[in-house]
């Protein structure tokens, strides 16, 4: 491996996210086969759907006998946050219509968090693309391996891998917590989500947590319109 690649934090972080994801992809492959999907169907889901939490929920519910009608709503609720992510990535998702449509496909937790953890727009775009590349490769190779291998690979929990994702997201959230506004918004989001856990279906608490940003967004809008009002007379002169 060239040394400049090893020394670049964005590349290094993207690769480590890929490695952790691959292990989860293997368990998705295993679960999907166990739920009755074929190897081809399992791989198409990872290639075309490419939304880890939704896919896992979808095959788990079907595997547990919940049927498609029972599996689709929770899977889509979990995928719903990607709409918020795509909205927040405006500016980062650049290029021609075709490139943006392609980038939209890889808008997920990891790519969004990596992009927003960078401070310049160029770094955000590079982090998004590199993470997407590592994640897409890892998720699909892992899925294929899991689908072919079937059961008996052990539980990812035994290796503590379920603790890796919150740790990774915390490491990516930390640089975004500049200033009291961001801290308050993060705390509000966490509290909203926790309050909804026992009563709302999976996926909804995470989407609803975005409401934690509303006071700050409204405040910013108000500040901007005050500035606009203050500047208006000058513009008239």
């Amino acid at each position: 491996m060239p040394s400049d690649m090893a020394n670049d934090p964005i590349t290094r972080n993207a690769v480590s996210i890929g490695v952790a994801t691959a292990v989860y992809a293997v368990s998705f492959g295993v679960l999907s086969i166990a739920a009755g999907f074929s190897v081809a169907q399992t791989c198409v889901m990872s290639l075309v759907c490419f939304t880890g939490a939704s896919q896992l929920t979808f095959v788990s519910v079907i595997g547990a006998g919940g049927g498609v009608a029972g599996a689709l709503p929770p899977a889509l609720l979990l995928a719903g946050r990607n709409a918020l992510y795509a909205l927040s990535l405006r500016g980062v998702l650049s290029g021609t219509v075709r490139k943006r449509a392609l980038r939209a496909q890889v808008v997920v937790d990891e790519t969004t968090a990596m992009a927003h953890a960078q401070s310049t727009l160029a770094a955000k775009r590079r982090a998004f693309d590199l993470t997407a590349l590592c994640l897409f490769t890892a998720w699909n190779i892992g899925t294929l391996l899991g689908a072919l291998a079937g059961r008996g690979l052990g539980n990812p929990r035994d290796y503590g891998l379920d603790a890796v994702f919150p740790a990774v997201f915390l490491a990516l959230l930390a640089p975004q917590l500049r200033g009291p506004d961001a801290m308050r918004v993060a705390a509000a989001g966490a509290l909203i989500a926790l309050a909804l856990v026992p009563i709302a279906p999976a996926g909804l608490p995470i989407i609803a947590s975005a409401l934690g940003a509303v006071p700050v967004l409204l405040g910013a809008g108000r500040r901007r319109s005050r500035v606009a009002v203050a500047q208006a007379p000058e513009a008239g002169r």
């Binding site: 480590s16 198409v44 689709l72 909205l87 405006r90 290796y159 603790a163 961001a182 975005a210 967004l217």
Partner: protein
């Protein structure tokens, strides 16, 4: 298993991503005001962290993931490299489960 559930899942998952992209692009052209929409990701990531750590399904669960997150928080605060944070969290959870 028939193919239609696979297609429905794939199509709706992509549609959700596209909705955000299209709405974001429209906002950009319609309003000159630059709302800092990046802030929306902060509560969502915070929610993701606490949900993935303290719950399983609709139940609150306090297990090896909580001390692992604590270790990760200390390391993130000390500005440890990303890989160290991820490995330390996995090792903490795995060791605690091995012992407990």
């Amino acid at each position: 298993m028939s193919w239609w559930p696979v297609f429905v899942l794939c199509a709706s998952a992509y549609a959700l991503k596209l909705i955000g992209l299209v709405v974001g692009a429209r906002l950009d052209s319609e309003t000159s005001e630059r709302w800092s929409l990046e802030i929306v990701v902060v509560p969502v990531l915070a929610a993701l962290i606490v949900i993935q750590t303290f719950s399983t399904g609709q139940r609150f669960v306090l297990d090896a993931r909580a001390p692992a997150l604590l270790v990760a928080a200390v390391l993130a605060w000390r500005k440890a490299p990303f890989v160290v944070i991820a490995l330390a969290a996995a090792a903490t959870a795995a060791l605690l489960r091995l012992v407990g």
